[in-house]
Amino acid sequence: MSASPPIIDVAGATQRFGTRTIFRDVSFSVRRGEVFVILGGSGCGKSTLMKQLIGLLPPTAGRITIGGDAITEESGAAERDRALRGMGVMFQSGALFGSMTLLENVMLPLQMFTPLPPEARVAVARVKLGLVGLADAAALMPSEISGGMAKRAGIARAMALDPPLLFLDEPSAGLDPITSAGLDQLILDLRRDLGATFVIVTHELGSILAIADRCIMLDRHAYGDEGGIIAEGDPRRLRDESTNPIVRAFFRRQVPQTAEAA
């Protein structure tokens, strides 16, 4: 691993809702051009952590910088805007705009932030939809497509402006294995061809081992009743070498032996 500068740096991120600590003291950094995966059981705060990274949810405590710009500082609104401008996000639900067709969904960021003339916008948007296998669905409304299609359209929209940093929340959940493998390949291709950095939340074991350079694993009981990071590193090494029972159980698809269930 070369020492390219981190594009994301998280120090001590903590999230509390009321008296519940979803996670605390989460620290990690993501290098440029890396596929970084956030793992963890359902409800452990992966989507919440992602919302912090994309500036939607100010962490209860901690500091997050993206491309050197702190997004958690109260004061630096301009700095924050600049940091957020360079990212594309796919939400867990897809979050497509319900009043627009898929094509218009992908075109919206182009219309807002690029000088492209209308016909060029259409062409660019079609290319992106084609990449996720939705070339034929461009004219459909979000209410007319399946859950897996909505996810892929969400990815196309996240890629609309060719952002150097992409956040994908469970991109392959609900997809069949072939489409899911195609998506993994797309992620690797974009990383190779455009040098994009990916932060991906996923549970798909196959996908993790295929695409992730590094990962962190969150757990709800990392510190007793409080959640946090329980493992960090190359997923293949974690699979083979980790001694943490939850991590081992995760990679072996087993019920952990020392679970809190006892």
């Binding site: 919302k51 994309i54 996000v89 867990q92 919206l108 807002m112």
Partner: protein, 365 residues
């Protein structure tokens, strides 16, 4: 189920099928028996005669176990049943959160009014935010699409024309008729025209238009934006660097302010027409009625109503959007937002109207 009492032990002997039906039949008795066992006696659940036990039956056994303060033992369970019990026991919370059930909220007649006042107050602050967004439109020009304004104006205004005409005519008819009867006794029936036209132009036109706008459009704004909020669409806009205030709120507020004077004018005209019909039925010629309208009202009356209507439109539009953006999670929240928009819109209209009355009185119109 039967209960056998010993000195140190009470045995509940279960028999037959412990499924939802079976458990329902003996639930209360079993719980009572378990509770009354006393903490220093052992509760023994004898399952030897149980022919079948599913998860409902398991819940019965575990709840009985929990109801008893002292030690509980299970005897005679088949291997499968014992495994099922162990598994369910391991995964149930030790201190389950009390379940309050699906209760009707207590009656609170003032709650709605209070909620209305609150959303009116929030709406006032929100108008401030909207003004800031308006100030920044030059740097975000692409986010504010004139087409959108026209679309909402169509939805809020043009499509409500039939309702406006109907309501206006009826109000004119009713007002004229109701006041003509007593006025006639004083021989002042022609002055019904003054009464009705002044109240229509100054007050009722704008007020009724506001009620229609709040009911048809304020609620729709709240539901649309609320659904977007629930679907994370607002979050998606925000991360794209698109300002929801500029993209969603400003066009709606502008449309509401744009259509209100037109709606008010239509209501005024329809109301006057309705009144004219009544007056003619009472035997006044059309010319006399029209001349009397001309004498009774001034341009100031009309302008007053129209100016007020713009303010009502701003308030209703703002409250609708704010309720939408403030929507919590889940489909029920969208309904609550729509209700809040209507109630808040009407309450704020009334408050504003009072304010206008004071201002206009002070100014001496």
């Amino acid at each position: 189920m039967n209960v056998a009492d010993g000195a140190e032990r009470r045995t509940l002997r279960f028999a037959g099928r412990l499924d939802a039906d079976g458990a329902a039949r003996i639930w209360d008795n079993a719980m009572r028996a378990a509770r009354q066992t006393g903490r220093n006696r052992t509760l023994s659940l004898d399952l030897a005669d149980v022919a079948y036990c599913d998860l409902s039956g398991t819940a019965l056994l575990l709840t009985a176990e929990a109801a008893h303060a002292g030690r509980t033992v299970t005897v005679g369970a088949s291997e499968e049943l014992q495994a099922l019990l162990d598994r369910a026991r391991a995964t149930s919370p030790r201190k389950p959160a009390p379940y309050a059930g699906n209760q009707l909220p207590g009656a609170d007649p003032l709650g709605l009014l209070r909620a209305g006042l609150r959303s009116a107050a929030n709406g006032a602050a929100f108008i401030g935010e909207a003004l800031i967004a308006l100030w920044r439109v030059p740097e975000r020009r692409r986010m504010l699409q004139p087409v959108e304004v026209m679309r909402f104006a169509d939805q809020a205004g043009v499509r409500s024309v039939p309702l406006l005409l109907l309501l206006g005519t009826l109000i004119g008819l009713i007002l004229a008729f109701q006041s003509a009867v007593p006025m006639r006794r004083f021989g002042a029936d022609l002055y019904v025209v003054n009464l009705v036209s002044i109240s229509l132009l100054r007050e009722l036109g704008a007020l009724l238009a506001a009620v229609i706008l709040a009911g048809r459009t304020g609620s729709a704004f709240a539901a649309e934006i609320g659904t977007m909020k629930v679907n994370e669409e607002i979050d998606a806009l925000t991360v794209m660097g698109l300002d929801p205030m500029t993209m969603l709120v400003l066009p709606r507020m502008m449309a509401a302010m744009l259509v209100m004077p037109a709606m008010t004018l239509l209501l005024d005209i329809a109301g006057l027409a309705g009144m004219t019909v009544v007056m003619m039925a009472f035997g006044f010629p059309l010319v006399a009625v029209v001349t009397q309208i001309g004498r009774a009202v001034h341009v100031g009356d009309l302008v007053q109503g129209l100016v007020k209507s713009v303010a009502f439109g701003a308030a209703i539009g703002a409250i609708g959007c704010r309720e939408g953006l403030g929507t919590g999670a889940g489909p029920r929240a969208v309904g609550l937002a729509a209700t809040g928009a209507v109630v808040g819109g009407i309450v704020s209209t009334i408050l504003l109207d009072g304010l206008f009355a004071i201002i206009i009185y002070r100014l001496g119109f």
